[in-house]
């Protein structure tokens, strides 16, 4: 039994050696200037021939009324484009959901405002403080709504992405 096992091991070893030598010989034969030149010429002819056939088939597809591979691919590409658009919408919805979740959680739309926004806020606060009929909680809510409003106004002309980024930025810095 050991003899037979040895035989198959030897067969495997000799086979692998022979395979290696044959392959090295083939690689050496193919790694020559003449072969490269031949390939270069042939691939150009081949490409032109294929292109020619493709054009003929495309022309024939009109009277014979059959779709070509290109037609089917165009249709598939439309589906892929739609999928990409849907994905973009889905991402925006996710971002909005995340924002709503954070707002519901009561996280701060923050006190870190720029100079312009701070000035606006001071005006709002002065107004709030002067109005004695508004309770502290109501004042807080009002302040919060106005801060949000301020951000929304500042980004009214920009797109949804930049608005979301701004709101998120405010939200994040508020958490810190």
């Amino acid at each position: 039994m050991a003899d037979k096992d040895e035989f198959y091991k030897l067969l495997k070893m000799l086979g692998a050696k022979a395979e290696y030598q044959i392959n090295e010989w083939i690689k050496e034969c193919l790694n020559k200037e003449e072969i490269i030149q031949l390939f270069s010429n042939q691939s150009s002819h081949y490409s032109k021939a294929i292109k020619n056939i493709q054009e003929k088939v495309e022309t024939l597809s009109i009277p014979f009324n059959f779709p070509t591979k290109g037609d089917v691919a165009s249709l598939a590409k439309l589906t892929i484009q739609n999928e990409e658009k849907l994905e973009a919408i889905e991402e925006q919805i996710n971002q909005l959901n995340e924002l709503v979740r954070k707002l519901k959680k009561g996280s701060n739309i923050t006190d870190k405002l720029d100079e312009n926004e701070t000035q606006h806020l001071t005006t709002i606060e002065n107004f709030d403080n002067s109005n004695e009929n508004i309770s502290t909680n109501q004042q807080k809510s009002l302040k919060r709504i106005k801060k949000l409003n301020l951000i929304l106004q500042n980004h009214s002309s920009s797109n949804l992405d930049s608005l979301l980024t701004a709101l998120k930025k405010e939200n994040t810095s508020g958490r810190k």
């Binding site: 044959i22 690689k27 200037e33 270069s40 294929i50 691919a73």
Partner: protein, 342 residues
């Protein structure tokens, strides 16, 4: 007894031609994101021990089921058993409508998006990106321009420096000197058929290939070996079509101009500079690799800015690193301390 072994040996040998196929990709998984033909698979850890999940990127020329070949011969199963959450981006099988997919699309549209999805899904602070062969090249390109928190980058048999080639140096020279041009051919056929890809890989490695049958005959009496052989053979001959637009970029930008090393490669108009890689880096290469020689794998170690980097050269071939039982020792030693143990 001896007669029995011989009967089993030949029975095992002939069984591979009978269409019997053992199950593969058996590790439990679920799809968490799909785009075109790409799927992001999630393999939950059996008992989670690390906060940093793994994100696997496989090559574009073959199918990633080699990473989960069969029970007990599966890298993914080994990761899951060790306590890692694993995400695998499976690019699927391109069809004619995908012929215009570029390298930029793969990096930004699929890998970057996939990493973002994996981070959101796992709620992890950072992630380990692991690339195999050409998938490693994509992973390195992505990491160099990533804005996501990539804690570790692991590259397995990954070609980076194309100034040296495994064979056909005169062809490489002719390509660089513009004596041959593949663009017209690639543009004409659009999607490179799977058998062209297989022929290309075979030409570089072994144009004549029969030694695997001798290996089968040598151990045909072992059922588990025959099963592994069948699956492995299915994988080695299971090449997939390749989008022409991506191939053109790889041939011209990497093969011809070696732009990944010179720092001239652009993805979505963004320069890919490997010096931007600061993640912990593990580069694994094989000493007897006929497809990706070690000279192609090493330069990233010098180019990357990572403070923590390691180069591991193993005595195996191109595919010997993935289809094994359990985690390879070099990963067992390197990865846990860099994956935020719980």
């Amino acid at each position: 007894m001896e007669g029995n072994k011989e009967i089993l040996r030949w029975k095992g040998f002939w069984s591979v031609f009978g269409g019997h196929e053992p199950p593969s990709a058996t590790t439990p998984r679920k799809s968490i994101w799909k785009k075109n033909k790409t799927t992001l698979w999630y393999y939950p850890a059996k008992k989670k021990k690390f906060q940093t999940p793994l994100f696997l990127v496989y090559s574009l020329v073959n199918q990633p089921f080699i990473l989960d070949l069969s029970p007990n011969i599966s890298l993914i199963e080994a990761f899951v058993d060790e306590g890692y959450d694993v995400y695998l981006i499976d690019f699927g099988i391109p069809r004619y409508e995908d012929k215009d997919i570029t390298l930029d699309n793969y990096i930004v549209g699929f890998i970057k998006k996939g990493v973002q999805k994996a981070l959101t899904h796992s709620k992890a602070k950072d992630i380990t990106v692991m690339g195999f062969c050409l998938g490693g090249t994509l992973a390195a390109i992505y990491t160099a321009i990533a804005t996501e928190p990539i804690k570790n980058l692991i590259l397995t048999v990954t070609p980076i420096d194309f100034s040296t080639v495994p064979a056909y140096d005169k062809w490489a020279l002719a390509l660089r000197n513009e004596k041959i041009d593949f663009d017209e051919f690639i543009d004409t056929i659009g999607l490179i058929p799977a058998n062209f890809i297989e022929a290309g890989v075979r030409l570089v490695t072994a144009p004549v290939y029969f030694s695997h049958y001798l290996s089968l005959l040598n151990r045909g009496y072992e059922k588990h070996y025959v099963d592994k052989w069948i699956l492995f053979n299915k994988w080695t001959s299971g090449h997939i079509p390749f989008p022409g637009a991506t191939l053109k970029q790889l041939v011209n930008d990497l093969g011809k101009h070696n732009k990944l090393v010179t720092g001239e490669l652009k993805i979505n108009n963004q320069t890919v500079d490997l010096r931007n890689i600061k993640s912990n880096l593990l580069v694994v290469a094989s000493d007897f690799d006929q497809l990706v020689p070690k000279e192609q794998t090493y330069p990233i170690v010098e180019l990357a800015s990572s403070e923590d980097k390691k180069y591991e050269l193993l005595p195996s071939g191109h595919t010997g690193l993935t289809a094994k039982k359990g985690l390879p020792i070099y990963l067992k030693e390197w990865l846990p301390s860099r994956s935020n143990p719980i």
